[in-house]
Amino acid sequence: MNEILIQLNRVRGVGGCLLVSADGLVMAAALRQNTDENQLAASLGNILESAGKIVSTFGLAKFMNFNAASDQGGVLMIATGPAFLAIVIDPSANLALLQLEAKPFVDRITQRLSL
């Protein structure tokens, strides 16, 4: 799994990535050295919980992805089977392109997790 994440990190605009369970536990991570993966995963877990409530309350069917942006980058989370792939986005990244380029990695992770 780590190998997939390391390969994903080579995609342009990706500043790190981690795989978190729906309750915010780190399953695998390939983040920059100064990033606290546990703290980040805990925050992502909280986001997933609130986002899940919105999805169920407002009839959005299945939770597919979440992305947040700021001037200095952002985060993209994509559902990968029972877990979520979180990608740290660099400010220069093209979000639409990145989502497209992340798709094969998401498929590979989903496949691995379903084994």
Binding site: T35, D36, A51, V55, G59, L60, F63, N67, S70
Partner: protein, 284 residues
Amino acid sequence: MESELERLRKKVENFPSASLYNRLAELARTSGSDEEAENVCRRCIKEFPRNGQAYVILAEIELARGKRQDAFQLLHTGIERDPRSYGGHKILSDILVENDDIPGALRHLKQILAFKPNDSAITTRIADLEKKHGVKAASGAHAVLKSTIGNEPLEPFQGPLTTAVKAATSSRGASLDGLCGEIGVRGALVADVHGRVVLTKNLPSGQDELLAALAAEIAKTTQSALTTMGADRLSTWVIGGSAGQVLTFQRDRAFSVVVLADVTVRPAMLELRARQTLIDLGAA
């Protein structure tokens, strides 16, 4: 220092943020270019009107020029827009002490303790002033700030900006019309930083409040995640579902526009409309 200044200038051009503007202005000032610092602060205020530090730097420049009244005015505007401006309250309290307005100075110092309760320098300063002048700060709220004194959390600030929005709620409810008129938009709302609904359109009663509250919760946690990653203020977030999406646009952590839309809607298209809504409301 010159190379650092140059680096910051380029960075501000490419990725403008309030903190970068502040650093550039402070560095320009340290290197003796008050004029550049002033220009940087004025640009910063235009883009990030709630950044209190820009007002503080401008006030310091005016003070150095001997324009005390202008500095006083700037600091007042600064704390009005950014009630948690440490520098703003601190310098105002110093000016008020010089003007022999000790109760006024104490009020500002106690405002600092409201959001930074364990600041030993401020606690000592308050004790000194009270001892020397035998004055206790009035327990009521400051006339300008209208927030609590002591360790209780600050109430939401009621300044011209927020009152403008509240006033707009009744008279300009049409502000969300443009946004809700877009194809694929099911409903939208404007919420404040605490998740309270300011304005809503096409969302069922009760659900709008829930959406605003959850959006505020997500914004708070996302901001925490972004801080962990070294990014700055959150501006946009999107929850994508297979049968719809929720998009949120915010500015300066004050007000957010939350939109419930179909999956086909492109966030970039709605962003302009959302920003326009905030401008119409006087909140951006």
